[in-house]
Protein backbone atom coordinates (compact mmCIF):
# COMPACT_ATOMS: atom_id res chain seq x y z
CA UNK A 1 0.00 0.00 0.00
CA UNK A 2 2.88 2.34 0.78
CA UNK A 3 4.06 2.02 -2.78
CA UNK A 4 0.65 2.97 -4.16
CA UNK A 5 0.50 6.02 -1.94
CA UNK A 6 4.01 7.05 -2.96
CA UNK A 7 2.98 6.66 -6.60
CA UNK A 8 -0.03 8.86 -6.01
CA UNK A 9 2.06 11.57 -4.36
CA UNK A 10 4.61 11.31 -7.14
CA UNK A 11 1.83 11.71 -9.73
CA UNK A 12 0.60 14.85 -8.00
CA UNK A 13 4.14 16.18 -7.83
CA UNK A 14 4.78 15.50 -11.53
CA UNK A 15 1.54 17.21 -12.51
CA UNK A 16 2.03 20.10 -10.11
CA UNK A 17 5.60 20.82 -11.18
CA UNK A 18 4.78 20.36 -14.89
CA UNK A 19 7.68 17.96 -15.27
CA UNK A 20 8.63 18.64 -18.91
CA UNK A 21 9.36 15.07 -19.93
CA UNK A 22 6.21 13.71 -18.30
CA UNK A 23 4.07 16.50 -19.77
CA UNK A 24 5.52 15.80 -23.19
CA UNK A 25 4.81 12.06 -22.88
CA UNK A 26 1.30 12.73 -21.62
CA UNK A 27 0.65 15.22 -24.42
CA UNK A 28 1.86 12.69 -26.94
CA UNK A 29 -0.44 9.97 -25.57
CA UNK A 30 -3.33 12.38 -25.70
CA UNK A 31 -2.71 13.69 -29.20
CA UNK A 32 -2.04 10.24 -30.67
CA UNK A 33 -5.17 8.87 -28.99
CA UNK A 34 -7.32 11.79 -30.11
CA UNK A 35 -6.00 11.63 -33.68
CA UNK A 36 -6.85 7.94 -33.76
CA UNK A 37 -10.36 8.44 -32.44
CA UNK A 38 -11.06 11.34 -34.82
CA UNK A 39 -9.87 9.43 -37.86
CA UNK A 40 -11.63 6.31 -36.62
CA UNK A 41 -14.90 8.19 -36.09
CA UNK A 42 -14.78 9.92 -39.46
CA UNK A 43 -14.38 6.53 -41.13
CA UNK A 44 -16.55 4.36 -38.91
CA UNK A 45 -19.67 6.41 -38.14
CA UNK A 46 -20.65 6.83 -41.82
CA UNK A 47 -19.59 3.24 -42.54
CA UNK A 48 -21.74 1.97 -39.69
CA UNK A 49 -24.62 3.95 -41.20
CA UNK A 50 -24.05 2.35 -44.60
CA UNK A 51 -24.10 -1.10 -43.01
CA UNK A 52 -27.14 -0.34 -40.89
CA UNK A 53 -29.30 1.32 -43.54
CA UNK A 54 -28.63 -1.13 -46.32
CA UNK A 55 -29.86 -4.67 -46.60
CA UNK A 56 -27.37 -7.02 -48.17
CA UNK A 57 -26.43 -10.66 -48.19
CA UNK A 58 -24.19 -11.66 -45.28
CA UNK A 59 -24.99 -8.60 -43.17
CA UNK A 60 -25.56 -10.59 -40.00
CA UNK A 61 -22.35 -12.45 -40.50
CA UNK A 62 -20.50 -9.19 -41.09
CA UNK A 63 -21.80 -7.74 -37.84
CA UNK A 64 -20.81 -10.91 -35.96
CA UNK A 65 -17.39 -10.70 -37.52
CA UNK A 66 -17.04 -7.06 -36.46
CA UNK A 67 -18.03 -7.99 -32.92
CA UNK A 68 -15.50 -10.83 -32.90
CA UNK A 69 -12.73 -8.32 -33.51
CA UNK A 70 -13.64 -6.39 -30.34
CA UNK A 71 -11.30 -8.73 -28.54
CA UNK A 72 -8.38 -8.66 -30.95
CA UNK A 73 -5.18 -8.45 -28.89
CA UNK A 74 -3.26 -5.21 -29.33
CA UNK A 75 -0.02 -7.10 -29.93
CA UNK A 76 -1.62 -8.89 -32.88
CA UNK A 77 -2.61 -5.53 -34.40
CA UNK A 78 0.90 -4.30 -33.57
CA UNK A 79 2.49 -7.27 -35.28
CA UNK A 80 0.28 -6.86 -38.35
CA UNK A 81 1.08 -3.15 -38.66
CA UNK A 82 4.77 -3.87 -38.06
CA UNK A 83 4.84 -6.37 -40.93
CA UNK A 84 2.98 -3.94 -43.19
CA UNK A 85 5.10 -0.87 -42.36
CA UNK A 86 8.48 -2.55 -41.97
CA UNK A 87 10.99 -1.46 -44.58
CA UNK A 88 10.62 -4.75 -46.47
CA UNK A 89 6.84 -4.86 -45.96
CA UNK A 90 4.20 -3.82 -48.53
CA UNK A 91 3.96 -0.27 -47.14
CA UNK A 92 7.61 0.01 -46.13
CA UNK A 93 8.23 2.74 -48.70
CA UNK A 94 6.20 5.17 -46.60
CA UNK A 95 8.91 5.07 -43.95
CA UNK A 96 6.33 5.23 -41.18
CA UNK A 97 7.72 2.56 -38.86
CA UNK A 98 8.85 3.86 -35.45
CA UNK A 99 6.88 7.10 -35.86
CA UNK A 100 3.76 8.47 -34.13
CA UNK A 101 1.88 8.03 -37.41
CA UNK A 102 2.51 4.28 -37.27
CA UNK A 103 0.91 4.16 -33.81
CA UNK A 104 -2.10 6.06 -35.14
CA UNK A 105 -2.48 3.55 -38.00
CA UNK A 106 -2.43 0.70 -35.50
CA UNK A 107 -4.84 2.36 -33.08
CA UNK A 108 -7.31 3.18 -35.84
CA UNK A 109 -7.28 -0.48 -36.88
CA UNK A 110 -7.70 -1.51 -33.25
CA UNK A 111 -10.74 0.66 -32.54
CA UNK A 112 -12.48 0.26 -35.90
CA UNK A 113 -14.39 -2.88 -34.86
CA UNK A 114 -15.52 -1.31 -31.58
CA UNK A 115 -16.66 1.90 -33.25
CA UNK A 116 -18.45 0.08 -36.08
CA UNK A 117 -20.11 -2.46 -33.81
CA UNK A 118 -21.24 -0.08 -31.10
CA UNK A 119 -22.45 2.57 -33.56
CA UNK A 120 -24.46 -0.06 -35.43
CA UNK A 121 -25.98 -1.14 -32.10
CA UNK A 122 -26.78 2.50 -31.31
CA UNK A 123 -28.52 2.92 -34.68
CA UNK A 124 -30.47 -0.28 -34.10
CA UNK A 125 -31.71 1.03 -30.79
CA UNK A 126 -33.47 3.98 -32.43
CA UNK A 127 -37.24 3.71 -32.15
CA UNK A 128 -38.57 2.55 -35.51
CA UNK A 129 -41.86 4.46 -35.12
CA UNK A 130 -39.99 7.80 -35.14
CA UNK A 131 -38.43 6.91 -38.46
CA UNK A 132 -41.73 5.66 -39.90
CA UNK A 133 -43.37 8.89 -38.84
CA UNK A 134 -40.61 10.94 -40.43
CA UNK A 135 -40.93 8.98 -43.66
CA UNK A 136 -44.70 9.29 -43.71
CA UNK A 137 -44.26 13.06 -43.34
CA UNK A 138 -42.13 13.03 -46.47
CA UNK A 139 -38.59 12.98 -45.08
CA UNK A 140 -35.93 12.03 -47.61
CA UNK A 141 -33.51 9.17 -46.98
CA UNK A 142 -30.82 11.68 -46.03
CA UNK A 143 -33.08 13.44 -43.56
CA UNK A 144 -33.99 10.11 -41.98
CA UNK A 145 -30.28 9.30 -41.62
CA UNK A 146 -29.67 12.62 -39.87
CA UNK A 147 -32.61 11.88 -37.60
CA UNK A 148 -31.20 8.48 -36.71
CA UNK A 149 -27.78 9.93 -35.87
CA UNK A 150 -29.45 12.54 -33.74
CA UNK A 151 -31.59 9.99 -31.91
CA UNK A 152 -28.63 7.67 -31.45
CA UNK A 153 -26.15 10.31 -30.33
CA UNK A 154 -25.75 8.99 -26.80
CA UNK A 155 -24.91 5.56 -28.10
CA UNK A 156 -22.57 7.00 -30.72
CA UNK A 157 -20.80 9.10 -28.12
CA UNK A 158 -20.48 6.07 -25.87
CA UNK A 159 -18.82 4.24 -28.76
CA UNK A 160 -16.42 7.13 -29.32
CA UNK A 161 -15.52 7.29 -25.62
CA UNK A 162 -15.01 3.54 -25.55
CA UNK A 163 -12.81 3.69 -28.66
CA UNK A 164 -10.74 6.51 -27.22
CA UNK A 165 -10.29 4.53 -24.03
CA UNK A 166 -9.04 1.49 -25.90
CA UNK A 167 -6.70 3.64 -28.03
CA UNK A 168 -5.06 5.59 -25.23
CA UNK A 169 -4.68 2.57 -22.96
CA UNK A 170 -3.10 0.16 -25.43
CA UNK A 171 0.57 -0.70 -25.12
CA UNK A 172 1.20 -3.48 -27.64
CA UNK A 173 0.89 -1.34 -30.75
CA UNK A 174 2.85 1.60 -29.39
CA UNK A 175 5.67 -0.68 -28.33
CA UNK A 176 5.88 -2.69 -31.55
CA UNK A 177 5.40 -0.07 -34.23
CA UNK A 178 6.36 3.01 -32.23
CA UNK A 179 9.50 1.51 -30.74
CA UNK A 180 9.17 3.49 -27.48
CA UNK A 181 11.70 6.05 -28.72
CA UNK A 182 12.32 8.79 -26.18
CA UNK A 183 11.04 12.13 -27.41
CA UNK A 184 9.30 10.64 -30.45
CA UNK A 185 7.08 7.65 -29.77
CA UNK A 186 7.27 7.25 -26.03
CA UNK A 187 3.70 7.43 -24.74
CA UNK A 188 2.40 6.93 -21.23
CA UNK A 189 1.76 3.21 -21.56
CA UNK A 190 5.18 2.40 -23.05
CA UNK A 191 6.83 4.66 -20.50
CA UNK A 192 5.05 2.71 -17.74
CA UNK A 193 6.28 -0.53 -19.24
CA UNK A 194 9.84 0.80 -19.45
CA UNK A 195 9.92 2.43 -16.02
CA UNK A 196 8.51 -0.62 -14.27
CA UNK A 197 11.02 -2.81 -16.11
CA UNK A 198 13.73 -0.43 -14.93
CA UNK A 199 12.46 -0.93 -11.42
CA UNK A 200 11.11 2.59 -10.97
CA UNK A 201 7.72 1.41 -9.73
CA UNK A 202 6.84 4.77 -8.19
CA UNK A 203 7.24 6.69 -11.45
CA UNK A 204 5.40 3.92 -13.34
CA UNK A 205 2.46 4.16 -10.93
CA UNK A 206 2.47 7.94 -11.19
CA UNK A 207 2.32 7.74 -14.98
CA UNK A 208 -0.59 5.30 -14.71
CA UNK A 209 -2.48 7.77 -12.56
CA UNK A 210 -1.77 10.59 -14.99
CA UNK A 211 -3.23 8.45 -17.80
CA UNK A 212 -6.41 7.92 -15.81
CA UNK A 213 -6.54 11.64 -15.06
CA UNK A 214 -6.27 12.48 -18.77
CA UNK A 215 -9.08 10.03 -19.57
CA UNK A 216 -11.21 11.61 -16.87
CA UNK A 217 -10.77 15.09 -18.32
CA UNK A 218 -11.45 13.91 -21.87
CA UNK A 219 -14.57 12.05 -20.77
CA UNK A 220 -15.89 15.06 -18.89
CA UNK A 221 -15.44 17.21 -21.99
CA UNK A 222 -17.10 14.62 -24.23
CA UNK A 223 -20.04 14.27 -21.85
CA UNK A 224 -20.43 18.03 -21.79
CA UNK A 225 -20.62 18.15 -25.57
CA UNK A 226 -23.14 15.32 -25.61
CA UNK A 227 -25.46 16.81 -23.00
CA UNK A 228 -25.72 20.30 -24.44
Amino acid sequence: MGELWDGFLKALELIYTFDPEVMQIAGRSLSIGLTSIVIGSVICIPLAGLIHFNQFWGKRFLVSLIQTFYSIPTVVVGLFVFVMLSNVGPLGGLGLLFSPAAIVVGQVLLITPILLGLVISAFRGVDQTILDTARSMGASGWQVAVLVIKEARFGVMAAVIMGFGRAISEVGISLMVGGNIRGVTRVITTAISLESSKGDIELALALGMILIFISLVVNIIMNRIQQK
Binding site: V88, F98, V184
Partner: protein, 330 residues
Protein backbone atom coordinates in the same frame (compact mmCIF):
# COMPACT_ATOMS: atom_id res chain seq x y z
CA UNK B 1 -34.83 21.76 -32.73
CA UNK B 2 -33.22 20.39 -35.82
CA UNK B 3 -31.55 23.74 -36.40
CA UNK B 4 -30.13 23.76 -32.90
CA UNK B 5 -28.81 20.25 -33.29
CA UNK B 6 -27.00 21.11 -36.48
CA UNK B 7 -25.42 24.00 -34.68
CA UNK B 8 -24.15 21.77 -31.97
CA UNK B 9 -22.91 19.32 -34.51
CA UNK B 10 -21.00 22.10 -36.18
CA UNK B 11 -19.43 23.06 -32.90
CA UNK B 12 -18.45 19.45 -32.29
CA UNK B 13 -17.13 19.12 -35.80
CA UNK B 14 -15.07 22.29 -35.50
CA UNK B 15 -13.64 21.00 -32.24
CA UNK B 16 -12.66 17.69 -33.79
CA UNK B 17 -11.05 19.42 -36.77
CA UNK B 18 -9.16 21.61 -34.34
CA UNK B 19 -7.85 18.58 -32.49
CA UNK B 20 -6.90 16.95 -35.77
CA UNK B 21 -5.00 20.03 -36.91
CA UNK B 22 -3.29 20.30 -33.55
CA UNK B 23 -2.22 16.70 -33.68
CA UNK B 24 -0.76 17.17 -37.15
CA UNK B 25 1.87 19.30 -35.48
CA UNK B 26 2.55 16.39 -33.21
CA UNK B 27 5.86 15.17 -34.66
CA UNK B 28 7.31 18.66 -34.85
CA UNK B 29 6.04 19.54 -31.40
CA UNK B 30 7.55 16.35 -29.99
CA UNK B 31 10.96 17.05 -31.45
CA UNK B 32 10.89 20.73 -30.66
CA UNK B 33 10.26 19.99 -27.04
CA UNK B 34 12.90 17.35 -26.96
CA UNK B 35 15.50 19.73 -28.26
CA UNK B 36 14.78 22.39 -25.75
CA UNK B 37 14.81 20.12 -22.73
CA UNK B 38 17.88 20.13 -20.61
CA UNK B 39 20.48 17.64 -21.66
CA UNK B 40 20.33 14.44 -19.61
CA UNK B 41 24.09 14.67 -19.36
CA UNK B 42 23.36 17.29 -16.76
CA UNK B 43 25.49 20.01 -18.27
CA UNK B 44 22.48 22.30 -18.36
CA UNK B 45 22.80 23.28 -22.01
CA UNK B 46 19.84 23.41 -24.33
CA UNK B 47 20.05 21.57 -27.61
CA UNK B 48 20.00 23.73 -30.69
CA UNK B 49 17.17 23.26 -33.16
CA UNK B 50 18.12 20.82 -35.85
CA UNK B 51 17.11 21.82 -39.30
CA UNK B 52 16.48 20.03 -41.52
CA UNK B 53 15.52 17.07 -39.40
CA UNK B 54 17.42 13.92 -40.29
CA UNK B 55 16.36 10.88 -38.33
CA UNK B 56 19.03 8.33 -37.56
CA UNK B 57 17.65 5.08 -36.18
CA UNK B 58 19.58 2.56 -34.16
CA UNK B 59 18.51 -0.55 -32.29
CA UNK B 60 20.53 -1.10 -29.15
CA UNK B 61 21.08 -4.01 -26.83
CA UNK B 62 19.19 -3.60 -23.56
CA UNK B 63 22.21 -3.43 -21.23
CA UNK B 64 23.52 -0.21 -22.80
CA UNK B 65 20.06 1.27 -22.40
CA UNK B 66 19.19 0.01 -18.93
CA UNK B 67 22.44 1.41 -17.54
CA UNK B 68 21.64 4.85 -18.95
CA UNK B 69 24.71 5.03 -21.22
CA UNK B 70 22.61 6.02 -24.25
CA UNK B 71 20.92 8.82 -22.36
CA UNK B 72 24.43 10.12 -21.88
CA UNK B 73 25.73 9.62 -25.42
CA UNK B 74 22.60 10.48 -27.45
CA UNK B 75 22.67 14.29 -27.13
CA UNK B 76 26.40 14.44 -27.86
CA UNK B 77 26.08 12.62 -31.17
CA UNK B 78 22.89 14.49 -32.08
CA UNK B 79 24.72 17.75 -31.80
CA UNK B 80 27.84 16.49 -33.53
CA UNK B 81 26.09 15.02 -36.57
CA UNK B 82 23.13 17.39 -36.58
CA UNK B 83 20.65 14.53 -36.57
CA UNK B 84 17.74 13.36 -34.50
CA UNK B 85 18.70 10.01 -33.04
CA UNK B 86 15.93 7.44 -32.57
CA UNK B 87 17.02 4.71 -30.20
CA UNK B 88 14.97 1.52 -30.18
CA UNK B 89 15.41 -0.73 -27.16
CA UNK B 90 15.97 -4.25 -28.43
CA UNK B 91 17.86 -7.37 -27.44
CA UNK B 92 20.45 -8.64 -29.90
CA UNK B 93 18.00 -11.07 -31.55
CA UNK B 94 15.37 -8.49 -32.43
CA UNK B 95 18.02 -5.84 -33.21
CA UNK B 96 19.47 -8.17 -35.86
CA UNK B 97 15.96 -8.75 -37.22
CA UNK B 98 15.34 -4.98 -37.48
CA UNK B 99 18.68 -4.77 -39.29
CA UNK B 100 17.78 -7.56 -41.72
CA UNK B 101 14.55 -5.77 -42.54
CA UNK B 102 16.26 -2.41 -42.92
CA UNK B 103 14.09 -0.81 -40.25
CA UNK B 104 17.10 0.86 -38.62
CA UNK B 105 20.36 2.40 -39.87
CA UNK B 106 22.75 0.77 -37.41
CA UNK B 107 22.64 -1.82 -34.65
CA UNK B 108 24.48 -2.28 -31.37
CA UNK B 109 24.73 -5.95 -30.44
CA UNK B 110 26.87 -8.40 -28.49
CA UNK B 111 26.88 -11.90 -29.92
CA UNK B 112 29.86 -12.56 -32.15
CA UNK B 113 28.52 -15.77 -33.71
CA UNK B 114 25.30 -14.18 -34.94
CA UNK B 115 27.09 -10.96 -35.90
CA UNK B 116 29.35 -13.03 -38.17
CA UNK B 117 26.32 -14.58 -39.88
CA UNK B 118 24.70 -11.16 -40.22
CA UNK B 119 27.82 -9.77 -41.90
CA UNK B 120 28.33 -12.85 -44.07
CA UNK B 121 24.73 -12.60 -45.30
CA UNK B 122 25.54 -9.08 -46.44
CA UNK B 123 23.03 -7.26 -44.22
CA UNK B 124 25.67 -5.41 -42.24
CA UNK B 125 29.02 -3.78 -42.93
CA UNK B 126 31.72 -1.96 -40.98
CA UNK B 127 31.51 -3.78 -37.69
CA UNK B 128 33.62 -2.19 -35.00
CA UNK B 129 33.90 -3.28 -31.39
CA UNK B 130 33.78 -0.35 -29.02
CA UNK B 131 33.31 -1.60 -25.46
CA UNK B 132 33.48 -4.73 -23.36
CA UNK B 133 32.73 -5.98 -19.90
CA UNK B 134 31.92 -9.30 -18.29
CA UNK B 135 28.99 -11.45 -17.37
CA UNK B 136 28.48 -12.84 -13.92
CA UNK B 137 26.23 -15.35 -12.22
CA UNK B 138 24.17 -13.84 -9.42
CA UNK B 139 22.10 -15.69 -6.87
CA UNK B 140 20.86 -15.70 -3.27
CA UNK B 141 23.46 -14.61 -0.76
CA UNK B 142 23.45 -17.94 1.12
CA UNK B 143 24.12 -19.69 -2.22
CA UNK B 144 22.05 -22.88 -1.75
CA UNK B 145 23.63 -24.45 -4.84
CA UNK B 146 27.15 -23.76 -3.58
CA UNK B 147 28.58 -22.30 -6.78
CA UNK B 148 30.80 -19.64 -5.20
CA UNK B 149 34.34 -19.96 -6.50
CA UNK B 150 33.46 -22.41 -9.30
CA UNK B 151 33.98 -21.88 -13.02
CA UNK B 152 31.04 -20.82 -15.19
CA UNK B 153 30.54 -24.32 -16.61
CA UNK B 154 30.82 -26.04 -13.24
CA UNK B 155 28.37 -23.53 -11.75
CA UNK B 156 25.84 -24.37 -14.43
CA UNK B 157 26.30 -28.12 -13.75
CA UNK B 158 25.65 -27.48 -10.07
CA UNK B 159 22.62 -25.33 -10.83
CA UNK B 160 21.17 -28.05 -13.04
CA UNK B 161 21.69 -30.77 -10.45
CA UNK B 162 20.27 -28.70 -7.59
CA UNK B 163 17.51 -27.38 -9.83
CA UNK B 164 16.40 -30.90 -10.72
CA UNK B 165 16.22 -31.67 -7.00
CA UNK B 166 13.96 -28.66 -6.60
CA UNK B 167 16.42 -26.74 -4.42
CA UNK B 168 17.13 -23.76 -6.67
CA UNK B 169 15.71 -21.89 -9.65
CA UNK B 170 17.45 -20.28 -12.60
CA UNK B 171 15.96 -17.38 -14.56
CA UNK B 172 16.94 -17.19 -18.23
CA UNK B 173 16.44 -14.19 -20.51
CA UNK B 174 14.87 -16.59 -23.00
CA UNK B 175 14.68 -13.86 -25.63
CA UNK B 176 17.47 -14.69 -28.12
CA UNK B 177 19.47 -11.74 -26.79
CA UNK B 178 23.25 -11.64 -26.59
CA UNK B 179 23.07 -12.64 -22.93
CA UNK B 180 20.81 -15.56 -23.81
CA UNK B 181 23.31 -16.64 -26.49
CA UNK B 182 26.09 -16.52 -23.89
CA UNK B 183 23.97 -18.64 -21.55
CA UNK B 184 23.49 -21.28 -24.26
CA UNK B 185 27.23 -21.24 -24.86
CA UNK B 186 27.90 -21.93 -21.19
CA UNK B 187 25.37 -24.79 -21.11
CA UNK B 188 27.21 -26.26 -24.09
CA UNK B 189 30.54 -25.80 -22.31
CA UNK B 190 29.10 -27.60 -19.29
CA UNK B 191 28.21 -30.52 -21.56
CA UNK B 192 24.45 -30.13 -21.81
CA UNK B 193 22.10 -29.86 -24.74
CA UNK B 194 20.30 -26.54 -24.35
CA UNK B 195 16.93 -27.86 -25.57
CA UNK B 196 17.04 -30.51 -22.84
CA UNK B 197 17.85 -27.91 -20.21
CA UNK B 198 15.00 -25.60 -21.11
CA UNK B 199 12.53 -28.47 -21.04
CA UNK B 200 13.90 -30.12 -17.94
CA UNK B 201 11.56 -28.68 -15.35
CA UNK B 202 10.09 -25.82 -13.37
CA UNK B 203 13.48 -24.83 -11.99
CA UNK B 204 14.40 -23.32 -15.37
CA UNK B 205 12.40 -20.13 -15.83
CA UNK B 206 12.32 -18.28 -19.16
CA UNK B 207 11.60 -14.62 -18.51
CA UNK B 208 11.38 -13.37 -22.11
CA UNK B 209 12.42 -9.91 -20.96
CA UNK B 210 15.30 -7.43 -21.12
CA UNK B 211 18.27 -7.70 -18.78
CA UNK B 212 16.96 -5.33 -16.12
CA UNK B 213 13.50 -6.90 -15.81
CA UNK B 214 15.05 -10.39 -15.77
CA UNK B 215 17.29 -9.38 -12.87
CA UNK B 216 14.33 -8.00 -10.97
CA UNK B 217 12.44 -11.24 -11.60
CA UNK B 218 15.34 -13.39 -10.37
CA UNK B 219 15.58 -11.10 -7.36
CA UNK B 220 11.89 -11.54 -6.53
CA UNK B 221 12.16 -15.32 -6.89
CA UNK B 222 15.46 -15.66 -5.05
CA UNK B 223 16.80 -17.40 -8.14
CA UNK B 224 20.11 -17.59 -9.96
CA UNK B 225 20.64 -15.55 -13.10
CA UNK B 226 23.28 -14.81 -15.73
CA UNK B 227 23.69 -11.04 -16.10
CA UNK B 228 26.10 -8.55 -17.54
CA UNK B 229 27.97 -6.76 -14.80
CA UNK B 230 26.88 -3.27 -15.83
CA UNK B 231 23.14 -3.92 -15.61
CA UNK B 232 23.70 -5.84 -12.37
CA UNK B 233 25.52 -2.90 -10.77
CA UNK B 234 23.05 -0.33 -12.07
CA UNK B 235 20.04 -2.26 -10.74
CA UNK B 236 21.76 -3.09 -7.51
CA UNK B 237 22.25 0.60 -6.84
CA UNK B 238 18.77 1.59 -7.97
CA UNK B 239 16.63 -1.22 -6.63
CA UNK B 240 18.78 -2.69 -3.88
CA UNK B 241 18.96 -6.29 -5.12
CA UNK B 242 18.98 -9.12 -2.59
CA UNK B 243 20.81 -11.43 -4.97
CA UNK B 244 24.58 -11.04 -5.06
CA UNK B 245 27.30 -11.74 -7.59
CA UNK B 246 28.66 -15.23 -6.94
CA UNK B 247 30.69 -16.24 -9.96
CA UNK B 248 32.88 -13.89 -12.01
CA UNK B 249 36.29 -13.94 -13.71
CA UNK B 250 35.83 -16.79 -16.15
CA UNK B 251 37.15 -16.11 -19.67
CA UNK B 252 33.83 -17.33 -21.10
CA UNK B 253 32.14 -14.35 -19.41
CA UNK B 254 33.81 -11.89 -21.79
CA UNK B 255 31.13 -9.64 -23.31
CA UNK B 256 32.11 -7.53 -26.33
CA UNK B 257 29.82 -4.88 -27.79
CA UNK B 258 29.81 -4.18 -31.50
CA UNK B 259 28.32 -1.48 -33.73
CA UNK B 260 27.31 -2.52 -37.24
CA UNK B 261 26.05 -0.34 -40.10
CA UNK B 262 23.22 -1.61 -42.26
CA UNK B 263 24.41 -2.31 -45.80
CA UNK B 264 22.81 0.23 -48.16
CA UNK B 265 23.13 -2.29 -50.99
CA UNK B 266 20.56 -4.44 -49.18
CA UNK B 267 18.36 -1.56 -48.07
CA UNK B 268 18.75 1.58 -50.12
CA UNK B 269 17.15 3.71 -47.41
CA UNK B 270 19.86 2.95 -44.87
CA UNK B 271 21.72 6.12 -43.89
CA UNK B 272 25.21 4.74 -44.33
CA UNK B 273 27.09 8.04 -44.07
CA UNK B 274 25.64 8.85 -40.68
CA UNK B 275 26.07 5.23 -39.58
CA UNK B 276 29.76 5.39 -40.54
CA UNK B 277 30.21 8.68 -38.75
CA UNK B 278 28.47 7.16 -35.73
CA UNK B 279 30.69 4.07 -35.67
CA UNK B 280 33.87 6.11 -36.05
CA UNK B 281 32.65 8.36 -33.29
CA UNK B 282 32.07 5.36 -30.99
CA UNK B 283 35.69 4.20 -31.41
CA UNK B 284 37.08 7.74 -31.13
CA UNK B 285 39.15 8.69 -28.11
CA UNK B 286 36.43 11.09 -27.03
CA UNK B 287 33.78 8.39 -26.63
CA UNK B 288 36.21 5.79 -25.35
CA UNK B 289 37.03 8.17 -22.51
CA UNK B 290 33.35 8.74 -21.82
CA UNK B 291 32.78 4.98 -21.69
CA UNK B 292 35.72 4.56 -19.31
CA UNK B 293 34.41 7.26 -16.99
CA UNK B 294 30.73 6.34 -17.21
CA UNK B 295 29.34 5.23 -13.89
CA UNK B 296 32.60 5.59 -11.96
CA UNK B 297 31.23 8.30 -9.71
CA UNK B 298 28.10 6.33 -8.87
CA UNK B 299 29.38 2.77 -8.74
CA UNK B 300 33.02 3.27 -7.85
CA UNK B 301 34.03 1.43 -11.02
CA UNK B 302 33.45 1.51 -14.76
CA UNK B 303 30.35 -0.22 -16.08
CA UNK B 304 31.93 -0.72 -19.50
CA UNK B 305 35.57 -0.74 -20.50
CA UNK B 306 37.17 0.95 -23.52
CA UNK B 307 37.77 -1.79 -26.03
CA UNK B 308 41.52 -1.08 -26.30
CA UNK B 309 42.00 -2.50 -22.79
CA UNK B 310 40.67 -5.92 -23.83
CA UNK B 311 43.66 -8.28 -23.81
CA UNK B 312 42.40 -11.69 -22.75
CA UNK B 313 41.70 -14.63 -25.08
CA UNK B 314 38.47 -13.97 -27.00
CA UNK B 315 39.06 -10.25 -27.33
CA UNK B 316 38.68 -8.83 -30.83
CA UNK B 317 41.80 -8.10 -32.92
CA UNK B 318 43.18 -4.58 -32.66
CA UNK B 319 42.01 -3.57 -36.15
CA UNK B 320 38.43 -4.29 -35.07
CA UNK B 321 38.48 -1.01 -33.20
CA UNK B 322 41.50 1.06 -34.22
CA UNK B 323 40.77 1.28 -37.93
CA UNK B 324 38.13 3.91 -38.78
CA UNK B 325 35.51 2.72 -41.24
CA UNK B 326 36.04 4.10 -44.77
CA UNK B 327 33.59 6.43 -46.49
CA UNK B 328 30.93 4.57 -48.38
CA UNK B 329 31.28 4.49 -52.16
CA UNK B 330 28.41 2.89 -54.04
Amino acid sequence: MSFKWMNRKNVLFALLIGILLASMFLPSVGCGEKETTTSPAGDGTDFPLHDPMVRFKIATTTSLYDTGLWYHLEPIFEELANVEMDIVYAGTGIALEYGRRGDVDAIIVHDKAREDVFLADGYGINRRNFAYNFFLIAGPENDPAGITGLSAADSFKKLYEEGMKGNVKFVSRGDESGTHAKEKLIWGEAGYDYEEIRNSGDWYVEAGKGMGPTLLMANEMGAYVLADISTFLAYNLKSGLDIVSLVEKDPIFLNVYAAIAINPEMHSGAKIDIANQFINWLISDEVQEIIEAYGKAEYGRSLFFPIAGCDIPGCPPVEAYTEPVPDYKP
